[in-house]
C-alpha cells in the first residue's frame, strides 16, 4: 500500500529546491509526504500544527484540513500513496455523515459521532505510543549509559543444549534459503495494478465501522488518480465478493450500472448474503 512512497525519500523542502529544474508536469513524481508515516501520522501532525488538544479535538475541522491538504496535493499533481487517498475517502464519508443529520432509518451502524470518536481515539492512542517510545529511548540504555562487564569470564548457558540457535536465526536461514532458490532468474515487472489483497485490505479498513448501506466505491474513486480507477474498481469488486462470501460484507445493487452499496457483514464467519437485484 505504501508502494508509492519512496522509502526514506527526499524531504519535501529539499524537493522544492529542485522543483524549477524538474519537469513540472511529471506525474510520476514520487514523494515522501514530508516524511509522514501514513495518514494517521499526517492527521496527528495537522492537529498539532493547529495546536488542537487531542482531548478536545474537532474531528470535523480536522477532516476538513486533511481533505484540503489532499486536494492541494492533487492540484500540484503530487502522487499520494493509496493509504492517504483511502483516508481521504473515509473522511469525506465521515464529513457527510456529520453534516447531514441522522435520519432514523433503523440503521444500527455507528453514527457519524461514533465514527469521529473512533478516529479521535486512534489518534490519541498513536500519540500515546509516540510519547511512550520517546520515554523508552531516553532511558538509561545498555551500551550507551550503562555498561556491562567489559571482560566477561563466562557466559551462562541460556539453554541446556550444547548448541545455540534461536528462532530468529532459524527463520532467517530458512527464508534466505528459500528466497535464494526461488528468485534465481525470476524478475517481476512492477505493474500499476491494485492486487486483490490491496483492495481487500482497503475495503476492510474502510468498512470496519460502517454498518449501513454506503456507496463506498464512489468515495474511493473520487480520490483515486484516474489511471488507477479501472484496476481499483475491478479489484475492489472482486475483493468485495470475496468478503461477502466470508460474511464480512454485504452488497446491494439496484440495477445494472447502478451504484453498488456495501455494508459490513454481521459475523466474520457467517455465510454472507449477496443481493444483486439488477441481475
Amino acid at each position: 500500500m505504501a508502494m508509492n512512497i519512496a522509502q526514506g525519500a527526499i524531504p519535501m523542502d529539499k524537493l522544492w529546491q529542485d522543483a524549477p529544474e524538474k519537469s513540472a508536469d511529471d506525474p510520476e513524481l514520487l514523494i515522501d509526504v514530508g516524511g509522514f508515516e501514513g495518514p494517521l501520522d499526517l492527521l496527528l501532525h495537522l492537529a498539532k500544527v493547529q495546536k488542537v488538544d487531542l482531548a478536545r479535538i474537532s474531528v470535523l475541522a480536522l477532516a476538513e484540513q486533511y481533505l484540503q491538504f489532499i486536494d492541494s496535493a492533487r492540484r500540484v499533481r503530487i502522487e499520494l500513496a493509496a493509504d492517504y487517498l483511502v483516508m481521504a475517502a473515509w473522511l469525506a464519508y465521515l464529513k457527510s455523515k456529520l453534516l447531514i443529520p441522522q435520519q432514523a432509518k433503523g440503521d444500527d451502524g455507528p453514527t457519524g459521532e461514533e465514527m469521529a470518536a473512533t478516529l479521535a481515539f486512534r489518534l490519541k492512542r498513536l500519540e500515546a505510543m509516540r510519547e511512550a517510545a520517546t520515554q523508552l529511548v531516553n532511558r538509561n540504555r545498555l551500551g550507551r549509559d550503562v555498561f556491562a562487564r567489559g571482560a566477561p569470564e563466562h557466559i551462562p548457558h541460556r539453554f541446556k543444549s550444547a548448541y545455540d540457535a534461536n528462532l530468529f536465526d532459524l527463520l532467517s536461514a530458512y527464508a534466505n534459503l528459500r528466497q535464494r532458490q526461488a528468485v534465481t532468474q525470476v524478475t517481476i515487472e512492477r505493474r500499476k495494478v491494485w492486487s486483490l489483497a490491496d483492495a481487500r485490505a482497503l475495503l476492510t479498513q474502510m468498512l470496519g465501522e460502517i454498518g449501513e448501506w454506503t456507496a463506498l466505491q464512489q468515495y474511493l474513486l473520487t480520490y483515486l488518480p484516474p489511471a488507477d480507477r479501472v484496476t481499483a474498481m475491478a479489484s475492489a469488486f472482486a475483493a468485495s465478493l470475496e468478503l461477502v462470501r466470508e460474511g464480512k460484507l454485504e452488497i446491494r445493487q439496484e440495477g445494472a450500472f447502478q451504484p453498488i452499496y456495501m455494508r459490513g457483514g454481521t459475523k466474520a464467519d457467517a455465510a454472507g448474503e449477496v443481493v444483486v437485484d439488477g441481475f
Binding site: A2, P11, M12, D13, W16, A19, A24, E37, G38, P39, L40, D41, H45, L46, Q50, V52, R56, S58, V59, A61, E64, Q65, Q68, A73, R75, V76, D83, L98, L99, P101, E113, A116, A117, A120, F121, R122, L126, A128, M129, R130, E131, A132, A133, L136, V137, R139, N140, R141, L142, R144, V146, F147, A148, P152, I155, P156, K160, L167, A268, D269
Partner: protein, 240 residues
Amino acid sequence: MTVSDRDERPAGQQDPADASGETFSQAEIERLAEALVFASAEPVSEAFLAERLPRGTHVPSVMHRLAEVYASRGVNLVRSGDRWAFRTAADLSFVIRKDENEARKLSRAALEVLAIIAYHQPVTRAEIEDIRGVQTSRGTLDVLMEAGWVRFRGRRRTPGRPVTLGTSPDFLDHFGLEELRDLPGLEELKGAGLLSGRIPPNFQVPLPGMSDDFAEDEDPITQMDLEELGLLAPSGEEQD
C-alpha cells in the same frame, strides 16, 4: 559435547550443592553468587544460580541483599526479569561512555513499532498496523528482531492464527527495566484505555458542530500553512 560437570571438577572441590555435610555461611553464598553474576556480561538467570548455589538457597533474597550492598557503588547489581546482572551506575555514564560503541540508533518507525510491541504485547502485525495506520515497512521488524529485542511469541487463537509478537528478555536488559510492568507510563496508559483495541467506554470526544465552523482556538488551514509545512510548492508554481 556437554560433559557432565561433575567429572570435570578438580578433585577435592565439591559441588556446593552436594556438600550436605558442609554449611555455607551467608557471606560465602553471597561471594559465590557475586562471582557467578560478575563473571558474565549477560544477565544470569535465577535458575542458573539456583543450580550452582548450595541446595536450599533462596536465590531471590540473596540477590536482593547483594543488590543493596552494591546500590551505592559504581557498579550496581540490577534485575531484569528473572535475571541478574552487574551494570555500571547510570549516573557515571559520562565518564565511561565510549564514542565507538554508541548504542544503535533506531529509526522513528522502528522505535514506534518497538513501543507498540512492548506496551501491547502479545500483539499481531495487523494490530500494529491498526495503531500506526500504516503498513510496517519490510525490515523494520527485522531490525528489531536482529537487535534481539523482539521475538515471535506464539499465535493468536483466532481465525488465521496470526503470529503474535512480544519483547525479549534482552529488551528489558537493554532498557534497564526490571520487568514489563516498569514500562514508563504503563499504568496511566492502561487506565486511559489507550492500550486496548477498542474505544474505552469513558472516552470523551466533544461532538463536532453541525457546521464548518472552527473551534475558538482553531484556524482553518491555509495555503500559507501548507507551504510552511513544506507540503506544497510555494504559490505561484502551483499547477492546474
